[in-house]
């Protein structure tokens, strides 16, 4: 990227943050995965801010870097990833610079993650009650009895049926939906200021999904927490996110307030995601390009160029910057769809 575009990008990033001081500001976060032959850039200089109490949605397909982002914000990218650059500013400090013990005090306490497929993530030899209570004991320093009481209250809050019995249950005895509620309980028991929900409803039945979503929304509101709601399903974000970002190949392609994104989508990728829900087959076909087999993103140029029906020569040559096409609405495209 040329120096000019880099400066431009930074200025725009500064404006991506809305006037009041953000709670969490992700700045130019880059994460790479060393491979046997080459190193893959999974996140490429991603920037995003979240205001206190705000719920920001992030939509991306499999492999776009959702889980990498969710975990890298807290400084623990999935193995074998490495954070190669950027900052995560929380309450005025770049937490990625903090020494590990300091960072651990923040994780789970002020910033926490709700993970997908939680049964594999829970300790198989400890009871649910103990694991939830452990969060309270470690971060809030309360006594064992008090922690168990808080854990029990949390289980009731996440509406797990029969919470007395579940306190002594082991992870393998839970269904997917129950395990998801447990993980939510663990993430929220310390009333964190910032919650990252990483694909928290994947693999669950539709009815359970709806319950989990409303649960998250209510708990976030109750605790005045800000949330970064990461999902594969763009439709869900319409439900309760005030702003939505679209992630593709490790970069934010579009970022807009909810109404703008759904009523005036600008990026071809966003349009493809929205068109997938449309009833009109013509519309769907208009925005999706059949897979050419190679999912390789070119080293230069726009990473979406290979699948974009509007792609031109310049798209394959120069990467587009994240430009503000209307107040608060940003798109990374040389030819954003602006007319309606």
């Amino acid at each position: 990227m040329s120096k000019f575009t880099a400066t431009l990008e930074r200025e725009l990033d500064a404006r991506v943050a809305t006037p009041a001081a953000p709670l969490v500001a992700i700045k130019q976060l880059s994460v790479e995965f060393p491979g046997s032959t080459e190193t893959k850039q999974v996140l490429k200089g991603l920037s995003l801010s979240v205001q206190p109490g705000e719920i920001v949605g992030l939509v991306g397909e499999s492999g776009a870097g959702k889980t990498t982002l969710a975990r890298s914000i807290l400084g623990v990218p999935p193995a074998p990833g490495r954070i190669s650059g950027g900052e995560v500013v929380f309450e005025g400090r770049n937490i990625l610079d903090l020494p590990e013990p300091e960072l651990r005090k923040l994780r789970g306490r002020r910033l926490s993650v709700v993970v997908p497929n939680p049964r594999a993530e829970l300790n198989p030899t400890a009871t649910i009650g103990k694991q939830i209570a452990a969060m309270a004991r470690i971060h809030l320093g309360v006594s064992r009895k008090e922690a168990m009481r808080m854990a029990f209250a949390m289980l009731r809050d996440v509406q797990i049926p029969d919470p007395e019995r579940r306190m002594n249950a082991y992870p393998h005895e839970l269904s997917g939906g129950m395990a998801q509620r447990v993980v939510i309980a663990m993430a929220l028991i310390c009333s964190p200021a910032f919650i990252i929900s990483d694909d928290a409803t994947s693999g669950l039945d539709v009815t359970v999904q709806a319950q989990i979503l409303s649960l998250l929304e209510r708990l976030a509101a109750d605790n005045d927490s800000a949330m970064l709601f990461i999902t594969r399903d763009i439709g869900i974000t319409a439900h309760f996110c005030s702003r939505v970002a679209v992630l593709y190949a490790g970069e934010i392609m579009e970022l807009a307030p909810r109404e703008d994104l759904f009523l005036r989508p600008a990026h071809p990728y966003t349009l493809m995601l929205l068109a997938a829900f449309s009833h009109s087959p013509k519309l769907r076909d208009a925005w999706s390009v059949p897979e050419t087999g190679r999912r390789e993103t070119s080293a230069k140029g726009c990473s979406y160029a290979g699948r974009c029906p509007l792609a031109q020569e310049v798209c394959r040559e120069r990467p587009p910057p994240l430009a503000e096409i209307s107040p608060g609405h940003f798109a990374r495209c040389h030819f954003p769809v602006v007319d309606r």
Partner: protein
């Protein structure tokens, strides 16, 4: 109730295994040359006396009959008589087996402490110097001959430094051994309040326990390190890190999850060491059961050998059953 049915099922399997072991050892020791009657009566015995003894010992019967007679006697608690000690093998073993057990148990404890500690450290920092040291230790510990290592320790700590007592048995010659309750001198001395005997027994245990413990820590170390690495790399450990759990707790939880594998290797080692302590027993004139069996083989005294094999097999089987019960306690996923 469930535990009882489980035990009953295991025991049902165990009996044919035991019979098999006894059969094989019976055939094996019977093929050792040497006429027991001649050996017992000595070179001056008359042919008639020899024939008479042979008949009373049942040695004139065909082999399979002798085996059945042996089995029948076993069920009555008669393991035969040793012509060397002229005592029933059962009595000899009741005296000697606890000596071996005391030695082996303490050695195993040392091996566990060394193996698990080094294994956990090596797993936490796979590229650190402790990990490299543990690798080297694991390889070399298995390569050293135990009887030679015992000699090295004797030379350093007894001959040169005069710290350890002479390698002549379990207790100082001038000290009276405590009343045998368990057969282990240390425990019995403590039970009797006899501190002099306790310290004497402990000091005599020092070198043999060091030998066996240090040399056998290898497998425990490797298993602990390998399992801990897997656990620290697992999804749930990463989730704990993600949730801000301090590292010492993450390690503790990982260790808790590694216990089944480590317990397995400890149980195998325990069974192995009962017979594997033989050479150390010989070097230190320990008077243990393994030494008893070896003397039996070398002197064509077959019943001690059979008795020892039986004791050691039963011991191994008990250890395995106990370990299986421990698994149910350790891993909540099994009890269903």
């Amino acid at each position: 109730m469930r535990v009882l049915t489980y035990l009953a099922k295991r025991l049902a399997f165990v009996i044919p295994q035991l019979v098999g072991i006894i059969l094989v050892s019976f055939l094996l020791v019977k093929s050792i040359p040497g006429d027991p009657a001649v050996l017992m009566l000595g070179p001056t015995a008359t042919p008639d006396a020899i024939a008479g003894l042979r008949q009373s010992l049942g040695l004139d019967q065909p082999l399979y009959m002798q085996f059945f007679i042996y089995l029948k006697n076993l069920l009555h608690g008669d393991l035969g008589t040793s012509w060397q000690t002229t005592r029933p093998v059962l009595d000899d073993l009741i005296q000697r087996f606890p000596a071996t057990l005391e030695l082996v148990t303490l050695s195993l404890l040392l091996a566990i402490i060394v193996g698990v500690t080094l294994g956990v450290y090596a797993a936490r920092r796979p590229n650190g110097w402790i990990a490299r040291l543990s690798d080297a230790y694991g390889l070399s510990a298995g390569a050293l001959p135990d009887f030679w290592f015992a000699l090295v320790l004797i030379f350093v700590f007894y001959t040169v430094l005069h710290w350890a007592p002479a390698p002549l048995g379990r207790i100082d010659m001038v000290v009276i051994p405590p009343m045998p309750i368990t057969g282990a001198y240390t425990i019995d001395a403590l039970l009797a309040g006899d501190l002099e005997a306790f310290w004497s027994a402990l000091s005599h245990l020092a070198l043999p326990v060091l030998t066996l413990g240090l040399l056998n820590a290898g497998p425990i170390l490797k298993m602990t390190q390998a399992t801990m690495e897997k656990m620290l790399d697992s999804d749930f450990s990463r989730y704990e890190v993600l949730s801000g759990v301090p590292q010492r707790l993450v390690v503790r939880h990982a260790l808790r999850n590694s216990l089944p594998s480590v317990v397995t290797i400890i149980s195998v080692l325990y069974g192995y060491l009962i017979g594997g302590a033989v050479l150390v027993e010989i070097v230190f004139s320990w008077g243990g059961a393994g030494q008893y069996a070896v003397q039996g083989v070398l002197n064509s005294d077959i019943y001690p050998v059979l008795g020892f094999v039986l004791f050691s097999a039963i011991f191994s089987l008990i250890v395995y059953i106990v370990v299986d019960l421990i698994y149910v306690l350790l891993d909540p996923r099994i009890s269903n």
